[in-house]
């Protein structure tokens, strides 16, 4: 035997022998930073320590859009990770990629778990499911928009600090009072106008965002955002902006800063922003998301934001079994409860929610239950299961651009909403 073939056979033996005693490694691509990143690492470590067959390897891939792009590029290069975290607006993109992803319900079955929908919170599951009810992705971090208010400013303006405004009409009126009283320079601000003032506005007031159950029943969606209720809402918002009562902070969560610095008295923001509000040390209160008092049956229910975990197709049975085991681990009541209390994300299972209630956590931390009760209060209607479009990121871009033109006083509310519908419908048709 020549030396070369000796080496070759040695290498061959080493590589073929390896899988026999190695764990199955599963990559988990995510977009979590700071404290949330630590949670990811802890969860992976706990899971890895709990068994010997599988190893979850978390990899930070940048912001939400960057992580989604990394996943798409990986799919094109046929180098996909096992699990990828995709933000809410990317849901439609992932669902359009039939064959590229494997429904989570099937993955759970691979791990010997029969998928039981009733164990999960309905509002969240509905958002991440196909029209026929199959759950496609695992809801990892879900949040919902709530109202924060500065109690010190309320007191200075002579307002009731125990009762935050409940409807948009009340919010606008209160904001004007605050500005007039001189208690604060700015009455009201909001993060994520598209998510809070359109997607959740539609669900919470039980009015359609678009046809086809806002895209959950089909992809051929026509937007219905120029209905009078939206136009009136934004007309009021623009008039507040003109008087300096409402201040625009930016397209994502920048406006939070205006609230934390004490410039603005009222803020609508994701429940996930609570950590920063607590840290800033201001005297704050929490209320539920305001609704429109002219809307019939409002408030309905809010829709989740945040992100979910997707599983790529084309993996081995062994890998799917491992991923299924990991999801089983994540669904455990004590894991979910801890995740919920530490990070402010909503619990995914009913059992975890009940356990948190029983532990007295909500009595000690008033307001922490608001994002859940908002979402769970009522059985979702066809207007309130969520918004799913094949190109929701692009639609949000169009909406933001139009809002900026409106708030700068360049066009009126009717034109703004008509433009959103026209440009949005063109973009949706193009993305089919």
């Amino acid at each position: 035997m020549s030396i070369r073939s000796l080496i070759l056979s040695g290498v061959l033996a080493a590589t073929t022998a390896l899988p026999a005693f190695a764990q199955t490694e599963i990559q988990w691509w995510h977009a979590m930073t700071g404290a949330n990143n630590e949670v990811v690492d802890t969860l992976a470590k706990e899971f890895n320590d709990s068994q010997a067959d599988y190893k979850i390897v978390p990899v930070f891939k940048g912001t939400y859009p960057e992580t989604l792009n990394a996943g798409i590029a990986a799919f094109r290069a046929k180098q996909t990770p096992g699990i990828i975290q995709v933000f809410d607006v990317g849901t439609g993109v992932m669902m359009g990629a039939e064959g590229a992803v494997k429904p989570v319900a099937e993955v759970l079955e691979a791990a010997g778990e029969t998928f039981d929908k009733s164990k999960y919170l309905p509002g969240i599951v509905a958002y991440y499911s196909k029209p026929d009810g199959t759950m496609l992705s695992f809801p990892y971090n879900s949040s919902s928009p709530i109202l924060y208010y500065n109690k010190d400013i309320f007191e200075k303006a002579g307002l009731d600090t125990a009762n935050p405004p409940k409807t948009w009409q009340e919010v606008f009126e209160t904001a004007r009072k605050i500005k007039q009283s001189g208690a604060a320079d700015c009455g009201y601000t909001s993060t994520w106008l598209t998510w809070i003032h359109l997607e959740n506005f539609a669900a919470w007031n039980n009015v359609p965002y678009g046809t086809e159950e806002n895209g959950l029943a089909g992809t051929d969606v026509k937007l219905e955002l120029n209905a009078p209720i939206y136009v009136e809402h934004f007309k009021e918002l623009a008039s507040l902006a003109k008087d300096g009562v409402f201040r625009y902070g930016g397209r994502t969560s920048e406006a939070k800063q205006l609230f934390l610095s004490g410039e603005c008295a009222i803020l609508t923001e994701s429940s996930g922003g609570l950590g920063d509000v607590v840290k800033s040390g201001i005297n704050y209160g929490i209320g539920q998301l305001p609704y429109d008092e002219t809307a019939e049956g409002a408030p309905q229910n809010t829709i989740p934001g945040g992100a979910s975990l997707w599983v790529f197709g084309g993996k081995s049975d062994e890998e799917y079994k491992g991923i299924g085991e990991f999801f089983k681990f994540l669904s455990q009541t004590d894991v979910q409860q801890r995740l919920h209390e530490k990070s402010g994300y909503l619990p995914v299972t009913e059992a975890a929610y009940e356990a948190t209630k029983k532990s007295g956590f909500y009595e000690k931390n008033p307001g922490r239950e608001t994002p859940i009760t908002q979402m769970m209060g009522k059985e979702p209607t066809e207007n309130s299961k969520g918004v799913r479009l094949p190109n929701l990121p692009q639609i949000r871009d169009i909406e933001n651009e139009q809002f900026e033109a409106l708030l700068a006083g360049k066009q009126d509310a009717q034109t703004t909403m008509d433009n959103i519908v026209r440009l949005g419908n063109e973009a949706i048709a193009e993305a089919q």
Binding site: P65, N69, I72, F75, R76, V93, G96, A97, E98, G99, A100, Y248, G249, G250, R251, E254, A255, Q257, L258, S261, N391, P393, Q394, D397, N400, E401, Q402, E404, A405, L407, A408, K410, A427, E430, A431
Partner: protein, 293 residues
């Protein structure tokens, strides 16, 4: 004339090979990919792909947003190049006149060049962001309605200043070198003839440094076109209402945020054509008027 200086026929090609390989891999390969992609209509995952010929180009060119982006790019590039060059020339002539501590001033002025574009953008953002910027507060207190989040012109001003600020150092360096190469005797002769310092500058110094100015014009235009993505991304994200969405930013936004790969590729092909045309024009026409000493 002696022939066959290199008897080895292969060696010249071998020596050229690395450069050719780099050009092929880093330019021709991606450029051909962009060309190919620009004629496809595809979903983000590449599961369904359809050849559509020039449809993507027709769509891009027929889109009013794209024409707006062209306008934004022209305004942005011209303003940035002019501002960066004018200020650099002013500082360079001023630094020439400094007698003591010349080296210190020059070093200080060159420093900003070491700052990455995205960091430069963030610096300016921290100063002028309406939510948290120090200068934004001062401006508002002074009664000026400073809000680049909604006012497109203010947003444009902010990115132009940030982009120009970063480029001043580079231009400064070249202008200082150019000024030093202007013969003292010419300036002294003009001074003896009674020409004022302004006149001396415009009639003697400025024409003599024209080659440098031309070179910088090319470099600055290319910079404003392509290297300012980081600044725009950090400061305005192309907003408000597309007021600062340059062509390069639009390629990124349509491709990587909106996931319209065909349209994005078509835009980058158009961009490629624009750059080739711009460079050709610059060298064909502008260069003729430049006086090389």
């Amino acid at each position: 004339m002696q022939k066959a200086v290199f008897p080895n026929k292969l060696l010249p090609y071998l020596l050229l090979a690395p450069q050719v390989a780099i050009t092929l891999v880093f330019f021709y390969w991606p450029a051909s990919q962009a060309l190919y992609q620009s004629m496809l209509k595809e979903d983000p995952f590449g599961l369904k792909s359809k050849f559509v010929g020039l449809q993507n180009f027709a769509q891009v060119l027929g889109n009013p947003d794209y024409l707006n982006s062209v306008r934004v790019t022209v305004v942005f590039s011209v303003s940035t190049a002019v501002l960066a060059m004018a200020l650099a020339l002013f500082l360079a002539t001023a630094a020439e006149k400094v007698v003591r501590g010349k080296g210190f001033y020059r070093t200080m002025l060159i420093w900003p060049y070491a700052v990455a574009p995205a960091v430069a953008g963030l610096l300016w953002l921290f100063m002028f962001n309406p939510s948290m910027g120090t200068f934004a507060y001062l401006l508002r207190d002074a009664g000026y309605r400073w809000n680049p989040l909604l006012d497109g012109d203010q947003a444009m001003l902010l990115v132009v200043v940030a982009a120009a600020w970063k480029q001043i150092s580079y231009n400064f360096l070249f202008f200082v070198a150019a000024l030093q190469s202007v013969p003292r005797s010419l300036i002294e002769a003009a001074a003896i003839d009674g020409a004022s310092s302004t006149k001396r500058f415009w009639t003697i110094v400025f024409p003599l440094i024209a080659p440098t100015t031309f070179f910088l014009l090319v470099v600055n235009t290319v910079y404003a076109f392509f290297d300012t993505f980081g600044i725009i991304d950090a400061v305005t994200g192309g907003g408000p209402a597309q007021a600062t969405q340059t062509l390069v930013y639009k390629v990124y936004n349509d491709g990587f945020v909106n996931l319209d790969l065909g349209g994005s590729a078509a835009q980058s092909v158009i961009l490629m054509a624009i750059v080739i045309a711009l460079t050709a024009i610059q060298f064909r026409y502008v260069e003729k008027r430049v006086h090389y000493a």
